[in-house]
């Protein structure tokens, strides 16, 4: 990924912009491919396949537009990013999904997300944060369960309550 620095000459091919244009074109292709499998049942007017084709045409045009912008280097400047914090939060989300998926329950799942996110923002006190997360998510679970009578997914910890 090119990091746009304002000091760089403005007319420079933006590689990220080219990737965006390619993704839009691919999305348009997926739409058309998916629409081919639909049967038009309408006697008059448009069937279910018409709108995807219209949207796909729009996406294809916009892919061209984004491509031109990228060639001209017209994209706004971007700031440099640290990949590690983003990766940590994504790990947290993946943990949350896995724990919910395997029946680990709400409290463990959200606590995992809390601790990884907090670490992504630079905290290193994992034990303290875990304690805070467990207390907070337990309170949320109880509030939802008892006050709002909305059931959140229950795992081993929730059954103890």
């Amino acid at each position: 990924m090119t990091s746009g620095d304002s000091a760089q000459p403005p007319r420079r091919v933006d590689r990220a912009g080219i990737v965006i244009a390619a993704l839009l074109a691919a999305l348009a292709a997926v739409l058309v491919w998916d629409a081919r499998g639909l049967q038009s049942a309408a006697m008059y007017g448009m069937g279910p396949e018409a709108m995807p084709v219209v949207v796909a045409s729009g996406l294809a045009l916009l892919a061209v537009g984004n491509f031109i912008d990228a060639l001209r280097g017209n994209l706004p400047p971007r700031e440099s990013t640290g990949p590690v914090p983003v990766f940590l939060i994504l790990v947290g989300l993946a943990l949350l999904i896995a724990i919910i998926g395997f029946g680990g329950g709400f409290i463990l799942a959200t606590s995992a997300l809390f601790v990884t996110t907090s670490a992504a923002f630079g905290r290193r006190a994992v034990l303290v944060d875990s304690a805070i997360a467990l207390v907070m998510s337990t309170l949320i679970y109880l509030a939802f369960d008892r006050l709002l009578t909305l059931s959140l997914p229950a795992g081993p910890l929730e059954r103890l309550l």
Binding site: G45, M51, L88, L93, V115, S118
Partner: protein, 500 residues
């Protein structure tokens, strides 16, 4: 005219029932508490608090919503003034002058003029809403499906292309939203589109999942990625909270002028509070007797834009309630709130559930009043919320964000979609694509499609029906002009630049 008063009185009777007052109070409190957190704008506030209202009856929940909406707006301006992080572009003007005032030790008057200005603007604009809405409803009942389709085209173009930095990037966002709107079972023929055999996708993409993913998860990822860039500094509120006589004298005209900018622009299906707030800011800068103070903390520069912001928020409720047309991200979230009860705003809702609509409008008055009474005394509490350390703040935001999805649909597919939309929101922020058009596209795309198909079915497939209705022909003309205008203007600008 008399009908409006009668309806409004009836609405008041609904709104002042003790339970409903309590809902309004909870809404105002929660809305302010969440809205005051840095980086959280009103749209995200509404999205995050949607699940809290699941189990209430529709009336009570919509009243709570009114409170959340105004509370979120108020909380956002508090953040803008005290730590200079506008949660949304509409608070940018407020942050410009308000934060300077706070730095100069005049944070109290800045908060006060924004609170009282919001109250004045909100009240006037809600009166405007109450009188404009029935008139617009009378007009809207004559709309055929082709007219609705044309109206949505106008909204699509104005929300994404006309007022953004780059029409190409705005339209790209819109079309991503339209694509997401196609996912699921086609309502007319029962065929699955873009579901790829995944059963969870047959119901389509949930608006709240998309909004929370794009706004909350995306924002957390983005802030985490550029943590080393920003150093936020919380300005303590020093000195008196109250405005001096001089402050009042300098504030009341900007409040009224801001309202005059905000309400009409918000009520047009053009969307966005940015234009009225910046119009108000530049007007006040031009009219002030103290031009030397602008840029260093002029109270007019807080009073005007804050009023404009609130008035346009009430203005966006006009197309939302009368036509079912959301023209801002916040209005889109309000629409999602209606839809969670199977209610579709529009002329029919005024006829079928007047208690609900007028109860909501009356609650807007009450919520406004509560904010005025609650917020200045409680400012110490809000400031303490602002002081939560960033790691815990964003960790908490992500827990709340995922909690909504877990409560509604605790499935791996839904949560993966939430994470995926989070990554999309992060990338869109990084590459400067606007977010609101995606949400508007997801909500309005399917409606626009079904109106178009209905219109074509009625006309036996003749597309000329779109141009034969004078309303639809006019609206499509406006949409076309609004679509081409930025490109033409840009071309002219380039032409001029070449000439120089």
């Amino acid at each position: 005219m008399m009908d409006t008063f009668a309806a409004l009185a009836h609405g008041m009777a609904v709104a002042v029932q003790p339970m409903n007052l309590l809902y309004a109070l909870i809404g105002v409190f929660l809305g302010t508490a969440v809205g005051v957190l840095p980086g959280i704008g009103p749209a995200l506030t509404v999205a995050l608090l949607l699940p809290v209202t699941y189990k209430l009856d529709p009336g009570g929940s919509l009243i709570m919503f009114a409170g959340i909406y105004y509370g979120g707006m108020y909380g956002g301006s508090t953040t803008a003034i005290l730590i200079n992080t506008p949660g949304e572009s509409a608070s940018m003007a407020t942050a410009l002058e308000g934060n300077k005032m706070a730095k100069a030790g005049r944070g109290g008057p800045a908060l006060a003029t924004s609170a009282i200005g919001s109250f004045v603007a909100g009240t006037i604009a809600t009166i405007g809403l109450a009188f404009l809405a029935p008139w617009l409803v009378d007009f809207a009942v004559r709309f055929g499906p082709e007219d609705y389709f044309a109206l949505m085209c106008v909204a699509f173009v104005t929300v994404s292309a006309t007022f953004g930095d780059s029409p190409v990037r705005g339209l790209t966002s819109l079309f991503v939203g339209l694509t997401l709107g196609l996912v699921g079972i086609d309502k007319l023929t029962g065929q699955a589109r873009l579901a790829f055999g995944v059963p969870e996708l047959l119901d389509g993409v949930e608006v709240t999942t998309l909004a929370v993913g794009l706004f909350a998860v995306g924002e957390a990822l983005y802030v985490a990625s550029r943590r080393h860039h920003t150093e936020e500094k919380l300005e303590p509120v020093r000195g008196s909270l109250w405005m001096t006589r001089e402050d009042w004298k300098r504030s009341w005209k900007p409040w009224l002028r801001g309202t005059m900018f905000g309400f009409p622009i918000g009520a047009l299906p053009a969307g966005g509070a940015e234009i009225p707030t910046f119009l108000s800011y530049s007007t006040e800068k031009r009219l002030t007797k103290y031009p030397e103070e602008f840029g260093k903390g002029a109270i007019e520069g807080v009073a005007g834009p804050e009023a404009a912001n609130n008035a346009s928020a009430a203005g966006t409720l006009v197309p939302l309630l009368t036509l079912g047309l959301p023209t801002s991200a916040t209005a889109a979230m309000m629409l999602a709130g209606f839809q969670q009860y199977g209610l579709n705003p529009g002329p029919l809702l005024f006829a079928e559930r007047p208690d609900l609509v007028w109860g909501l409008i009356a609650s807007l008055f009450i919520a406004n009043m509560m904010l005025l009474v609650l917020n200045l005394p409680l400012v110490g509490l809000w400031v303490r919320l602002l002081a939560i350390p960033q790691p815990w703040l964003y960790a908490g935001i992500l827990v709340f964000a995922t909690m909504g999805t877990i409560a509604a649909k605790p499935s791996v597919v839904e949560l993966s979609m939430l994470a995926g939309f989070g990554v999309l929101g992060f990338l869109m922020r990084r590459f400067d694509f606007p977010i609101a058009p995606v949400v508007v596209g997801l909500i309005l795309g399917p409606i626009a499609e079904s109106q178009l198909r209905r219109a074509l079915a009625i006309s036996l497939g003749d597309p000329m029906t779109l141009l034969q209705s004078p309303i639809s022909a006019t609206l499509l003309g406006i949409a076309l002009i609004a679509l081409l205008a930025p490109f033409v203007l840009k071309g002219l600008g380039r032409f001029k630049a070449n000439e120089d």
